[in-house]
């Protein structure tokens, strides 16, 4: 199997697909593994690896196609003379394109950036935040437990929410984030996390859009065929034969 076959496989398209088809496949995959979807999730790392893989595959295929098939590789490469007119031109174009793409797909909930600007009311918050970013949730929890009930402000609720979220305790996390949001609605970070969870709870935004066939219009889809199946497929088998 050649190198490019592997790239095509990653994007899930055939080597004979048109550029548009490849672009479409890339878009839907990029949406699927987008860092915003996995923000603050324990799987964020795996998702970003996958994203890199897809980006790499897409770039390689597009470069190869632009340069007329396997440019710079071991295959014979013919260029029209006028293409050699300015050798840097094609490359710079490719580079700028790549940059816009990366800009478009980088996360806008970049927590590190916010972190620098923010000065915490309490010094303990910085410490616990560092633990959370490292993934050491027990230590972060230990620090947060030292806060008295009167000291528990938005930041405290937010950090507790992050810990619950990473541990999969979703109801708790939702309550913490909504408390953080209530105490400080103008904080971008709190609002972002609260929004994400609220959208997922009420399914108000298209987080599920690419998940399966959700465009089923008829109500009958909700009907259970469970009882039919329970008698060991016999009935369905008969039906199959009649059809």
């Amino acid at each position: 199997m050649g190198k490019y076959d592997h790239y095509y496989q990653i994007l899930g398209v055939s080597p004979y697909a048109s550029d548009d088809e490849i672009k479409q496949a890339y878009r839907s995959l990029a949406k699927k593994y987008h860092p915003d979807r996995y923000v603050n999730s324990p799987l964020a790392e795996s998702a970003s690896e996958k994203m890199k893989e897809i980006n790499n595959a897409y770039d390689s295929i597009m470069d190869m196609r632009k340069n007329g098939g396997g440019a710079g590789k071991d295959s014979f490469n013919y260029r029209y003379p006028w293409e050699n007119y300015s050798p840097d031109r094609g490359r710079t174009q490719a580079k700028t394109k790549e940059r816009t793409k990366v800009d478009f797909y980088t996360s806008y909930y970049d927590s590190a950036e916010v972190d620098k600007k923010q000065s915490y009311a309490d010094a303990r918050f910085r410490e616990s935040r560092a633990y959370i970013q490292k993934g050491d949730y027990t230590n972060a929890r230990r620090i947060l437990d030292t806060f008295l009930p009167t000291e528990r402000d938005g930041e405290w609720h937010y950090q507790m929410g992050l810990i619950s979220y990473a541990g999969g305790r979703m109801e708790e996390a939702y309550n913490y984030f909504s408390a953080a949001y209530d105490s400080d609605p103008f904080n971008r970070e709190y609002a972002a996390m609260y929004d994400i969870l609220r959208q997922r709870r009420t399914r108000s935004k298209g987080i599920f859009d690419y998940a399966g066939t959700s465009d089923c219009n008829s109500e009958v889809c909700r009907e259970d065929f469970w009882c039919l199946e329970a008698c060991c497929c016999c009935l369905l088998d008969i039906a199959n034969r009649w059809l």
Binding site: Y33, S41, L43, G168, R200, T202, R203, I207, R222, C233
Partner: protein
């Protein structure tokens, strides 16, 4: 496990549906061979899915062959058989889970059910012994889960704590499915939310029964009879868990049976919470609106 993880048959292709049936029947046959006839009665859709995920992750080759059904010898069925461990593993999980479920029933049910459960346990004993000899880790883990569940119920600290034992059990079971470290981490998260989803759905479905019998249910405090608010709350809790499940599932690298497992996971949320048995004498097919690209 409670039989929640089945595909939506309307959405499957016919060939996928036939394959799914052959896996189901194949698992039944394999369980009869490995753990005895009584063990086949514990067969469930959840374990069918487990077998498929195992085979898919470990790139096992499967053979589909025609044979005769054990329970109805007049019928010819297709049977799927893996060359390696997938069906053996899923069968062991099924038998062990069923055995401990029966032990649990003996602890907290009326005398009629208790008697039946005793008989069931005796029937399953030999299969259970074989299964736990092959996979001692599973038995230990399931045993611990029931202890944890009791502790969690005594603690009575919201839905998260109540769902934790089931979720942790499935998390560990799913981790056993693959040997790859990266995949193991993802499978751990996947299993966690799968267990959580099953637990919450089961709790929401059983609430009326539990309140009538005085059993524990994490939604007990919020329950109001025939209230849409309560249903809304349960649906939201399920949605949130389901969204995390999909996030983890998207990262798993499956090789075979992908369309069937996709179907099971992506429609897992569509199974409505029980209100009353709705039978559709007629239904409306709405024309879909297509937006221009």
């Amino acid at each position: 496990m409670f039989g929640y993880l089945q595909p939506k048959r309307e959405d499957l292709k016919i060939r996928d549906y036939r394959l799914y049936k052959s896996v189901y029947c194949g698992l039944c046959k394999q369980m009869k061979k490995d753990y005895g006839l009584a063990a086949t009665l514990t067969l469930s859709y959840d374990c069918t899915m487990l077998a498929m995920v195992y085979a898919s992750l470990n790139k096992e080759e499967c053979i589909v062959r025609q044979g005769r059904c054990t329970f109805n010898p007049l019928k010819k069925c297709m049977f799927c058989r893996s060359k390696e461990k997938a069906f053996h593993f899923a069968g062991a999980v099924s038998v062990i889970m069923a055995y401990y479920k029966l032990s649990d029933t003996i602890d907290d049910s009326g005398w009629g059910k208790r008697l039946l459960a005793r008989w069931g346990k005796i029937g399953l004993l030999s299969g259970m012994k074989k299964a736990s000899a092959a996979y001692p880790a599973i038995r230990e883990r399931v045993c611990r889960m029931y202890q944890d569940q009791q502790k969690a119920e005594q603690k009575d600290d919201g839905i998260d704590t109540a769902a934790e034992p089931t979720a942790a059990l499935l998390s560990d079971l799913c981790t056993m499915l693959s040997n790859d470290d990266g995949q193991k981490r993802i499978l751990g998260v996947f299993g966690y939310f799968l267990g959580r989803l099953i637990y919450i759905k089961d709790a929401a479905d059983d609430i009326q029964k539990d309140i009538k019998n005085g059993n524990y249910n994490p939604f007990r405090d919020r329950y109001i009879e025939n209230s849409d608010d309560f249903r809304q709350y349960c649906t939201e809790a399920i949605n949130l868990t389901y969204s995390q499940l999909v996030l983890a599932y998207d990262l798993i690298e499956l090789t075979t049976f992908q369309s069937i497992i996709d179907n099971i996971i992506y429609t897992a949320d569509r199974m409505p919470i029980k209100k009353h048995k709705e039978k559709y004498a007629e239904y409306i097919v709405k024309p879909s609106v297509k937006f221009p690209k």
